[in-house]
């Protein structure tokens, strides 16, 4: 049987349950129950091998580095824990069938329940630390949903949120710890980690890793000071508490302690942190439990206390203590689950969980009472019950502490005191509920529930008795197989007898029983527990204060940084970019290379001066927008000439054409924007921005200079040049790169271009400029020259565009340049004669050009699939045509045709869309 099966079965059942109608309570319970039994059976099927000492494993490759496989493994600990999870799960499902009311979404409950069970089984069976953490977080999420099952109740929502916050935070710490741990062990594979204990303990980062992992375990297992979430999680339906807060969720923390025990334990750090945390939790939980009035509150604090006991045992770090810890995990799960069920029955039947009102129920529900009494006795570790056995072992181990100074006295003393407290609250649970007077105004008159609701609790109580009376026969084998991996295969001899003779542990038990019982009755007599109004508090208030402080801090941060000003965001972004780019410059200094300098030409000097004039003009005269635009055009022209000077004719042409197009566009837009900028206030802002700009400019200049003074690595360029003619039959290397070598890039770029055109069209489609914001249009008479020249220039532009297009593969030109030429040729009559004149004559929808262009370019690429080549492979032949000369008809030319169509289309869409705004407005004005 595949050992991943139990996890898969639980998750699949959860999915199936989600599909069921919410009211199908019988069907849902049957599906969940059968799935749980199937998961248990699939685990049981490997038990033979595991009992024989094998570790059954399965794994799939998952993350691409060693030791991170998706692996599941079953050893003794995992097997016993898995059977505990599924066994108690099955009983709780049966119990929940009778507990949940008919009008509640029962299928959802079971779906979440199975989700939780699958996650818990994942934690137990994970063969890899990373996988374990993933399932760990899933249990936190699933428990959040289960605790908050009664969504309408504020306390349920609050409790769920608190549980998630605390255990989720712990989960993050655990993740960090596990990442460290995996590094130390050299693998995340549990098999490797468990045998790397020596390397891990000797690692310099051992302590931080240990603390992180322990915070994860302690938050999950509600250890002091993280314990406060557990009582608030009691807002969950009782079946959830019976499952999560006795046998599973909170046990995940102590399971982790057991799981990693061979790898982490054995140091003073482990001993002190784990032991003292366990000790404090044991005492605080037991003490606070006495004063709870809520049945489930009492059980919650009792759970905290017992988890402290288990933690303490693992902290003591002796093989026998470890066995006792595993034993107590099993015992606590059985008696606490049955006690939660009993509490749920009482609540269900009487309508109250308040021990100040629930009194004298013995006469009304004797069967429930009998079960609860036996389970409570186990909780108080009365002899002949399972709790007694593990408690005896616990006392014996506390007495065995050596060489830790005061700890040898402190631990047994506190343990006895806590035992007395635990007897006191156990007695209270029984005496207050079943005797101590008569019921006080209960909503309903309670009676024993139907047999099937009692049965699950009955089964668990029976186990308590069997284990308690006949431990050798019932539990030795299970305990041995479960404890062996935890002790690192050094399982000690241990005795499970009830009678070990008159010894100190027995005396401690007897003292605890006597002191606890008398403590309860004297408290009732002296101060009457019912009169206590102020319950011990602290954890929740601190949590709320902390959470409030964090939220307030976050809000202040957000308000300080994100105040809604785009200007400020842009400044932040730019400063961040400057810092990121400037850091190496500051730390390593500006170093220049030894490439020979290019001689300065007079033309270059002139261009530099013009560029400086242009850029300066734009900045200084920015308030006079039209003038600034002219300076911008000047700068663009200089850039274009710089390209020409520096051997880039294609770029020079493109820049020139784009310059014309963008200046046109801006002029059209300027018509609808204010002609002058209002001057801004605040000289400080100017200086701040000028500083940012200055630093950015200096940085860019330094960066460029540092590169330019170094020789180039010409391998890529050399390859491209050498292969342009033989590989792509093109003499214009730039065009060859665009339409052949890197055609896929170009396809992406024309897609962006086309989209930009469509965005412009869409933004202006339903846009009617408000006449109030626009300046009066004035006389519509356009330039006479343009009006006359336009129709003449257009055919010329078409011819030039075709010429540029055809020769593009071998000489400056190509789809981009041809497209821009055609678009500008179309624009001249447009501006000269106006929108109406043009649209009467040219009925072309340029948005379609974009679509066709992209389609042609894409299809050219797909065409190369037909002969079996990769996307966009080109083929060619080279006929010589009259006039044009030798051209190459490459399939790349069809691709370039697509480019041409998209560029023309997008440019025209953008230009005409802005032009049309005026037309619409004029029409609207005329209609008025």
């Amino acid at each position: 049987m595949n050992v991943a099966a139990p996890v898969a079965i639980a998750f699949l059942a959860g999915l199936l349950l989600l599909a069921l109608p919410n009211r199908a309570r019988n069907l849902a319970a049957i599906v969940a129950g059968l799935a749980t039994l199937a998961a248990a059976a699939s685990l049981w099927s490997v038990s033979g091998a595991v009992f024989a000492g094998e570790v059954v494993e399965v794994s799939w490759a998952w993350l691409p580095f060693p030791g991170a496989d998706l692996g599941f493994r079953v050893d003794g600990l995992a097997l016993v824990f898995g059977l505990l999870v599924t066994g108690i799960g099955a009983l709780v499902i049966l119990y929940a069938r009778y507990y949940l009311a008919e009008d509640e979404p029962v299928a959802r409950f079971h779906a979440l329940f199975m989700l939780f069970m699958g996650s818990m089984l994942g934690v137990v069976l994970a063969g890899n630390l990373l996988l374990l953490v993933v399932f760990w977080e899933l249990t936190s999420l699933a428990s959040f949903l289960l605790i908050g099952y009664w969504q309408k109740r504020a306390d349920a929502r609050q409790g769920a949120r608190m549980a998630l916050t605390v255990t989720g935070t712990g989960g993050l710490c655990l993740l960090a710890g596990v990442l460290l741990l995996g590094r130390m062990a050299g693998s995340f594979d549990l098999d490797v980690v468990l045998v790397s204990g020596d390397a891990i303990r000797a690692h310099p980062l051992y302590l931080p890793m240990l603390v992180l992992v322990l915070v994860g375990a302690f938050t999950k297992s509600a250890q002091f000071p993280f314990h406060f979430w557990l009582p608030h999680a009691m807002a969950a339906p009782t079946p959830v508490s019976a499952y999560l807060h006795s046998a599973t969720m909170v046990k995940a923390g102590v399971f982790l302690l057991a799981r990693l025990h061979p790898a982490l334990s054995g140091t003073d750090e482990w001993f002190y942190i784990v032991t003292l945390t366990g000790l404090a939790t044991l005492l605080v939980g037991a003490y606070v439990a006495i004063f709870q009035h809520d049945l489930k509150g009492l059980l919650a604090y009792s759970t905290i206390s017992h988890l402290g006991l288990i933690t303490l045992l693992f902290g003591l770090d002796s093989p026998l203590a470890t066995v006792a810890g595993v034993f107590h995990i099993l015992n606590h799960a059985t008696f606490k689950a049955s006690l939660f069920m009993a509490a749920g029955i009482i609540d269900h039947e009487s309508g109250s969980r308040d021990m100040r009102r629930l009194n004298g129920l013995w006469k009304l529900m004797p069967v429930t009472g009998a079960l609860a009494i036996v389970a409570s006795a186990a909780m108080a570790s009365v002899p002949l019950l399972n709790g007694f056995l593990s408690k005896e072992m616990f006392f014996a181990e506390t007495l065995r502490i050596e060489s830790h100074g005061l700890m040898g006295i402190l631990v047994p003393a506190v343990a006895t005191l806590a035992a007395a407290f635990s007897v006191a609250y156990s007695v209270r649970f029984i005496h207050d509920v079943f005797w101590n007077g008569e019921p006080r105004d209960l909503p309903r008159k309670p009676h024993d529930p139907p047999f099937w609701m009692l049965m699950p609790a009955g089964v668990l109580v029976l186990i308590c008795l069997l284990v308690g009376i006949l431990p050798e026969q019932f539990v030795r084998a299970i305990l041995e197989v479960a404890a062996r991996p935890v002790t690192g295969d050094r399982l000690p001899e241990f005795s499970l007898a009830i009678w070990h003779g008159l010894n100190l542990p027995l005396a401690m038990s007897a003292l605890g029983l006597a002191a606890g019982a008398s403590l309860y009755f004297s408290l009732q007599r002296l101060i009457n527990l019912h009169d206590i109004v102020h319950l011990p508090r602290g954890g929740k208030e601190i949590f709320d204060a902390l959470l409030g402080a964090v939220l307030a801090g976050a809000r202040r941060c957000t308000a300080a940084v994100a105040n809604g000003s785009l200007q400020r965001y842009l400044a932040f972004t730019l400063v961040a970019a400057i810092l990121a780019a400037g850091w190496p410059l500051l730390t390593q200094g500006l170093s220049t290379g030894a490439a020979p300098a290019t001689p300065v030409t007079p033309l270059a000097l002139l261009l530099w001066a013009l560029a400086a004039l242009g850029a300066g003009g734009v900045v200084v005269l920015r308030h006079h927008r039209f003038v600034a635009l002219l300076f911008l055009g000047l700068t663009g022209l200089v850039v274009s000439l710089a390209f020409a000077l520096l051997s880039a004719p294609d770029l020079a042409l493109t820049q020139l054409l784009v310059e014309v197009a963008s200046v046109l566009l801006m002029m059209l837009a300027l018509y609808w924007l204010p002609a002058r900028s209002r001057s801004e206030v605040g000289l400080a802002v100017y200086w701040r921005d000028a500083t940012i700009a200055g630093v950015a400019g200096l940085g860019m200049a330094a960066l460029t200079y540092a590169v330019l003074t170094r020789p180039a690595d010409g391998r890529l360029a050399g390859w491209l040049l050498a292969n342009a003619v033989p590989g792509a039959a093109g003499q214009n290397a730039v065009n060859v790169i665009l339409v052949d070598f890197r055609a896929f890039d170009t396809l992406g770029e024309i897609a962006v271009m086309g989209l930009a055109g469509l965005i412009v069209a869409a933004l202006l489609a339903d846009f009617h400029a408000d006449s109030g914001t626009a300046r009066p249009r004035g006389d519509r008479t356009a330039s006479l020259i343009l009006a006359t020249a336009g129709p003449v220039l257009l055919p010329l532009a078409v011819v030039i565009a075709i010429w540029f297009f055809l020769r593009g593969h071998n000489a400056p030109g190509g789809g981009f340049i041809a497209g821009l030429v055609l678009a500008l040729g179309l624009m001249v009559p447009y501006i000269g004669r106006g929108n109406a004149w043009m649209s009467a004559r040219l009925r072309s929808d340029f948005q379609l050009w974009i679509g066709w262009g992209l389609a042609i370019a894409g299809l050219t690429g797909i065409g190369s699939f037909v002969p079996g080549f990769p996307f966009l492979t080109s083929a060619y032949l080279a006929p010589a045509l009259p006039i044009v000369g030798k051209i190459s008809i490459a399939t790349a030319m069809f691709f370039d045709l697509g480019v041409f169509l998209v560029v023309t289309g997008a440019t025209m869409v953008a230009l005409t869309a802005i032009g049309r705004v005026g037309a619409t407005q004029a029409t609207a004005g005329a209609a008025r």
Partner: protein, 122 residues
């Protein structure tokens, strides 16, 4: 020549960044255009400066870097020029619409609160 090119790129960048930080949408468009000049030039010169070495291959001239400029940055910048034009168009239209809908060409869509008038000394 290297110093000239570097300083020109620095100047264009500084002008562009300063204008990007202004509050009026049109000035931001101007700034973005200046900055795109700078960035395009920057990427272009990553192929180093070459005079009279157009990347057009001719018969009889060895197709190597000794005779031709690096064509790759040129190809990258060619599409970048066209795309920055498309982006300018989008930005302009956004500016236009935002001005029409908010009645202000401030980039935040609203005029900043008026500064308090300075008090005269009594």
């Amino acid at each position: 020549m290297e110093l000239l090119v570097s300083s020109a790129i620095g100047l264009l960048t500084a002008g562009g960044v300063f204008l990007l930080l202004r509050a009026r949408s049109f000035e931001v468009v101007l700034g973005l255009t200046l900055l795109s000049y700078a960035v395009n030039l920057f990427i272009f010169v990553m192929g180093r400066l070459a005079i009279d070495k157009v990347p057009l291959l001719r018969e009889g001239v060895a197709p190597s870097l000794a005779n031709h400029a690096d064509p790759l940055p040129q190809a990258l910048v060619l599409t970048a020029i066209v795309i920055s034009f498309a982006m300018t168009a989008v930005l302009l239209v956004l500016a236009l619409r935002s001005h029409a809908e908010y009645g202000s060409d401030h980039v935040d869509g609203a005029e900043p609160p008026a500064p308090e008038p300075r008090r005269r000394n009594p």
